[in-house]
Subunit: 442 residues, 2 copies
C-alpha cells in the first residue's frame, strides 16, 4: 500500500501530461524548442450560459510555475526520455513572461486571462498544471460568486470539504473566500491561507449523548457544547423534533444563545416557524443558520425568510453544475506569427492579446476590447477604461506587489458592482459584457 500522490518535495513538475515531455523531446531535436511562442489561457464560453466568470487560481499558478523543477528521482523514473531531454529538464526553470487578468477579476468568453511568453520548450510543459489550477479554482469561485449575490449580504460559510478531493477542499475554500464567502470549515485552508474558520456541531454530537437506555438526550449534548464553547455557539436542533430542539436549546442556552442550525426539511417554512418560536421565547438575537444542499437558487429562494447565515457544501465545491471552468491553453503566436487551429469546431483567434474594459461614467461596464499584445490601446472615446492585462511574472520571477487573497476578495466585490444589472441574474443567457476583438486578421 503506497500513496505518494502528495509528494514530500512539493515539486509540481509531474502534474503534467506525458505528451508535453515527448513533444519537448522532439522539439529539442528539431530545434523548435527554441522558437519564441505566446500561449494563451482563455475560455471559449462561460459554463451553463452564465453571465460572467471569476478569475481564480492566478497566485497558485504563479507559485506552481516557480516551483516547476524536476528532481533527480523524478527524472530517473522517466525512462521514455532521452538524455538530452533529461538534461534540459534537470535545469528547467521557467524564465519567460506571464501577463494576464488579476485574481478576482471578472472574465467573459475569449478574455485573454493569461498570456505566457517564452520559448516553445519552456511554455509547452506548463500546460497541464496551469490549466488544472485555473480550471478548478475559477469553477469554484465563479459558482461561489453567484451564491454571494444570491445571499444579498447575509454571510455564507463554505463547508463542502467532505464532498471533494481532500486537497481540492483546501483550494475550494480559498476560491469561495475569494468570491466573498465569509468563512470555511476547513482547518487546512485556515492554516494555509488565513481564511476565517468556523463551525457548529454535527448530528453525531447529539447522537453520542444518547442515554445508556437508548433514549435521546439532546439536552446533555447542548449543555456540554455550551459549557465548552460558550453560549454564543450554534446548536444543531434538527436531530429529533425541531420544535422541541429549539425549546431545549433556549432552555439550556438562555436569551444569549448564539444560534441554531437547521440541516433538513423545507427550510423556508421551518425557518419561519423557528424564528417565531425563538421570538416567542424571547430569543430575538439568536441567529438561524441553515444548511442542507444549498445552491445559489435555493439561497435566493430563502431571501424572504428569516435566515441569518448559510452553510454551503456540495454545490460550491463542485462548481454548482460546472465543476470545471473549461479554460484552454493554446499557442497563439510563434516567432511573432499569429497561429491558430483552423479545422471545423474549436476555432480561435491567433496572435498574442491583451484586453481593456470600458465603463460608463456610472461605473457600469460596457464592453471588453481584446487587441494585439504589442499594439497601442484602441481609442475608446469618452468611456472610462481599465487595463485588464497586467504583468504577473517577469523573467521567471513573480512580480513584486501583486495583491494577496484578501485584497483580491475586496477587488472582486467591487468588480461585481460594475456588471450591468442583468449580469447578476441567475438565469441562463449571454455574457453580461460583450468581448470584441480589435486589430486581428481573420
Amino acid at each position: 500500500m503506497n500513496d505518494k500522490a502528495i509528494p514530500n518535495d512539493r515539486s509540481t513538475a509531474l502534474l503534467t501530461d506525458k505528451y508535453e515531455l515527448t513533444m519537448l523531446q522532439a522539439a529539442l531535436r528539431d530545434g523548435s524548442a527554441n522558437r519564441q511562442v505566446t500561449c494563451e489561457v482563455f475560455g471559449r464560453r462561460l459554463p451553463n450560459e452564465r453571465r460572467y466568470g471569476v478569475v481564480a487560481g492566478t497566485e497558485r499558478v504563479l507559485r506552481a510555475v516557480e516551483d516547476f523543477r524536476f528532481s533527480a528521482n523524478q527524472l530517473a523514473e522517466m525512462d521514455f526520455l532521452d538524455d538530452k531531454t533529461k538534461e534540459y529538464l534537470r535545469h528547467y526553470r521557467f524564465s519567460g513572461q506571464i501577463d494576464g487578468y488579476r485574481e478576482g477579476e471578472l472574465y467573459f468568453p475569449n478574455s485573454p486571462i493569461l498570456t505566457v511568453r517564452g520559448t516553445f520548450g519552456e511554455c509547452l510543459v506548463l500546460e497541464t498544471v496551469i490549466l488544472s489550477i485555473m480550471n478548478a479554482d475559477s469553477a469554484v469561485a465563479s459558482a461561489a460568486s453567484r451564491m454571494v449575490t444570491a445571499a444579498d449580504g447575509r454571510p455564507i460559510i463554505e463547508m463542502g470539504s467532505r464532498r471533494t478531493h481532500e486537497y481540492a477542499a483546501v483550494t475550494s475554500a480559498r476560491a469561495a473566500y475569494l468570491a466573498g464567502f465569509d468563512a470555511t470549515s476547513n482547518l487546512e485552508a485556515g492554516y494555509c491561507y488565513g481564511i476565517p474558520v468556523s463551525g457548529t456541531a454535527a448530528h453525531s454530537w447529539t447522537l453520542a449523548h444518547t442515554n445508556p437506555d437508548g433514549t435521546p438526550n439532546e439536552e446533555a449534548a447542548f449543555r456540554s457544547q455550551i459549557d465548552t464553547l460558550g453560549v454564543d455557539t450554534t446548536l444543531l436542533v434538527d436531530t429529533y423534533d425541531i420544535t422541541k430542539g429549539v425549546e431545549t436549546a433556549v432552555k439550556v442556552g438562555g436569551p444569549k444563545l448564539g444560534g441554531v442550525r437547521i440541516d433538513s426539511g423545507d427550510l423556508g417554512a421551518v425557518t419561519r416557524r423557528v424564528r417565531k418560536k425563538l421570538d416567542d421565547l424571547g430569543n430575538h438575537n439568536t441567529n438561524i443558520v441553515v444548511s442542507s444542499d444549498l445552491d445559489e437558487f435555493a439561497i435566493a429562494g430563502l431571501r424572504g425568510d428569516p435566515v441569518d447565515a448559510y452553510g454551503v457544501g456540495t454545490s460550491v465545491v463542485t462548481g454548482s453544475g460546472a465543476p470545471t471552468a473549461g479554460m484552454v491553453y493554446k499557442v497563439v503566436e510563434v516567432d511573432g506569427i499569429p497561429v491558430a487551429k483552423r479545422s471545423s469546431s474549436k476555432q480561435s483567434v491567433g496572435g498574442a492579446k491583451r484586453a481593456l474594459r470600458t465603463y460608463r461614467s456610472s461605473g457600469v461596464a460596457v464592453e471588453e476590447i481584446v487587441y494585439p499584445f504589442e499594439a497601442a490601446a484602441p481609442d475608446t472615446g469618452q468611456l472610462d477604461t481599465r487595463e485588464m492585462t497586467i504583468p504577473l511574472m517577469r523573467d521567471g520571477h513573480i512580480v513584486d506587489g501583486l495583491p494577496d487573497l484578501h485584497a483580491s476578495r475586496e477587488y472582486l466585490a467591487k468588480a461585481r458592482k460594475t456588471l450591468p444589472w442583468e449580469g447578476l441574474a441567475l438565469s441562463r443567457d449571454e455574457a453580461a459584457v460583450p468581448t470584441r476583438m480589435v486589430g486581428f486578421k481573420k
Copy 2:
C-alpha cells in the same frame, strides 16, 4: 505569496472541519469521547439515478487514517483548542477497527461501505478526510466504469488532468484506471500508482512548426514526431484540414504509422471518412484515436464507427454530471445502542451493519442483504453468497494482504459481469440490485 496547500510533512490531520475538533474538546470534557461508537460510510442514493456505484478510494482512506497525526506546528496554530484537547491530539493515533467493501466493489443505496469502530473521540475527527477521499474517488470510478462498458472492449485513455484540481488529477487517473481505463496522460499518476502513461501530441506541436512566412507546415511537425518517437506514434491530424492531415500523415509515416488522433468535429462521420482514406492509402493497421468532450453517451454513440481508442478528459474527472458520490459518515451506534437522526428527511437506519450479496447459479447478483454487524449471516436459501464486508484495519493497522490497485481493477471487471443486464444500461432508473435491511428495529 504563499501556497502551503501541499504540506511538506504529508500529515492529513488538518484536512478536517473545525467542528470535529471543537466537538472533540467538548467530548473530552464531558466524557463522551470515551464512548464506543460505530460510524458508517454510505450513500443514500446513487447520483443521477445510476444503476450502480463503484467503491474507490479505500486504500487511500486507510493510508490517510494511518497518517492522521498532528504536528507540533499544526497544534500551535490551533489557538481555539484547550490544552487537554491539544494533548489528546498530540498523541492521536487511530487505534480502532475498519471493516467494509473492498476497493473496486459495486455498491448500491445504503450499502454499508465502511464501518469504523472506536471511541467517539477517535472516530469523530476522521469524518472529513474519509469522506473527501471516498466521495472524490468513487465519483470518478463510478463514471469511468460506465464509460468502460460503453467502449465495449476498446481501450480508453484518461486525459482530464487539466480539467480538475492538480492533485485530484492524480487520484482521478487512479480511479479511472481502477474502473478499467487503460492508461492516463498524467505522469504523477504513473509515478505514484504504476498506471500506464501514454499520450499523443497537441495542436501546439503542429502550430509550433509554422513556417517563418506564416504558412502551415504539418509535414515538418509529423516528420519530427516520427523521427523522435518512432513510426508507431499517433499523429494529431485535425489542426488544419483533416483529409489533408491524414494524407500527410501517411506520406510521412508510411504503412506502419501507428495512429491518427481526431479531436474535433462530428466524430462518427469523420472517423468513417478517415478510416476509408487510411484504407484507400493501404494503412489498414493505422489506428484511429478520438477525443473531444467524450462522455459515456458519446462513447456508446460511436460504437458502430471505426474507432480504435478513446481519449476522455473533462467528463471522467468531473464524474460525468456527478462530481461527488454523495456519501455520508454517520454515527450509527453508541455503546452498543443503535442511533439515528429522526427528523424529517435524511433518515437512516441505526446500528452497526455488514452486508452480503446473493447470486444465482449463473453468477448474476440477486440482492444485497444488510444485517447487524454482530449477527449471524441470514439464511439465503440456495443462492450463492459473497460477504461484502471484510476487515480493512485492525487496532489502527491496515490488515495485511489487501488487494492492490491492479488486483482491484481485475476484481471490478469481474464484478461488473455479475450485474443483471439492465445494470449496464446508461439510462436513469433504479439501482440494478436491491438492498434489503434485515434484523434492524425501525
